[in-house]
Amino acid sequence: MADLLAQAWAIAAKDLLLEFRSRTAFLSALVFTALVLAIFNFARDPTAVATIDLAPSILWITFSFAGVLALNRAFSLEKENRAIDGLLLSPASRTALYLGKTAANLVFVGAVEAIALPLFALFFNVPLLGVLAPLVLVIALATIGFVTVGTLMSSMAVNTRFGEMMLLVLVLPFLVTPVSAAASMSAKIFAGRPFAEWAPWLKLLTAYDITFFVICTLVFEATVEE
């Protein structure tokens, strides 16, 4: 167990160090996020639909697509010099590889979201301070859900033609549940609704995260082995 965690940490640290040095995917995701928020901001008619009604959908559309952009890099960086062979040749278990990649993706997507959230508040004039704690909880759970599935799909898509497009096709159906739950909860949080009203969505999201974490960990080996 200690070896598994140490190997997972080594993989996550390596991925984050590579991204910190290049910042390519991070900047792409940030520019995409800012662009989407700006377009929605200028395209909406505030007299037709109240900002507070539109904001949760925009927030989660932005997070979902920025997240998929970020997930693309997870295994594409292993294609360089066939580094994936080095990983698979090592005695590190495939579970450590999956956990390491998932952890790096969580940090990466979390960093994009941490910058995107204040931008969102700025563009849409949504007061975050009073709702920050429950909103962060929802964002964290939804991010865990789609990164868990997205990391697995990224390992499958990387060896296909048009891998980046394939990742979208593979991962979007699995995003419906966490993103719908997160958008519904965000709407209720922004509207100041009591916890009891969004608690069922929270349970669903937690169940989704646990279920897919177990499934993805178990099937990951089959996606990276021949």
Partner: protein, 245 residues
Amino acid sequence: MAVPAGADGGAAALEVAGLAKRFGHVRALRGVDFTLRGGDALAVFGPNGAGKTTLLRLVAGLLRPDAGRVRIAGDEVGRGDAAHRRRVGLISHHSLLYDGLTAAENLLFYARLYALADPRAAARRALAGVALEARADDPVGTFSRGMVQRLAIARALLHDPDVLLLDEPFSGLDQRAAATLRALLERLRAERRTMVLVTHNLDEGLELATHVAIQVAGRFASFGAREGDLAGYRARYAEATSRDG
């Protein structure tokens, strides 16, 4: 074609029996057999598409065979076998390194994956072994092809493998870098590591080899202890490739 294990009293370090692999309709490997002892170096020659890389990837455990088996020091290689992976090192024409990391960071990363006792010391030793200490903190992306190949060797030897697999290791190297690599491989053979080197270039592999195989269309057309000179092997190679071609 197989050499019986322990025929001369020595235990087989690497035993390959009936190894076959198919990719869709293409039969990449059609039943390859050989046995090597510690210190043996097998050079496998063959034209492009003969299945040489497939053979190495099967022995390394990166592919699963459709038939046959690979044994290292008597233990059969199974799927997800971490113990097997600790015994094998692979040097390929791809470096398996990250250009964005420094030489030291690359080796430290792999040392941690292999759960070596002192990863930093192991990385330092490996760098010293290929005379790259002075460039330890430079990104691999700034290295020449020869330096990358030396670092790739350090990566492959980091965990002290018993069996070393080399896939076109001289590919793209200039004469000086190739001579350095040859000297390094001579040293490894003297350390009694078992080596399998695949190449389509007779000149570069023969010097190092104790055993020679000519592989054509997924089969060993010939296999045995090295005997004769380069000209003799050229003739055999030409005959084998023309017969199967």
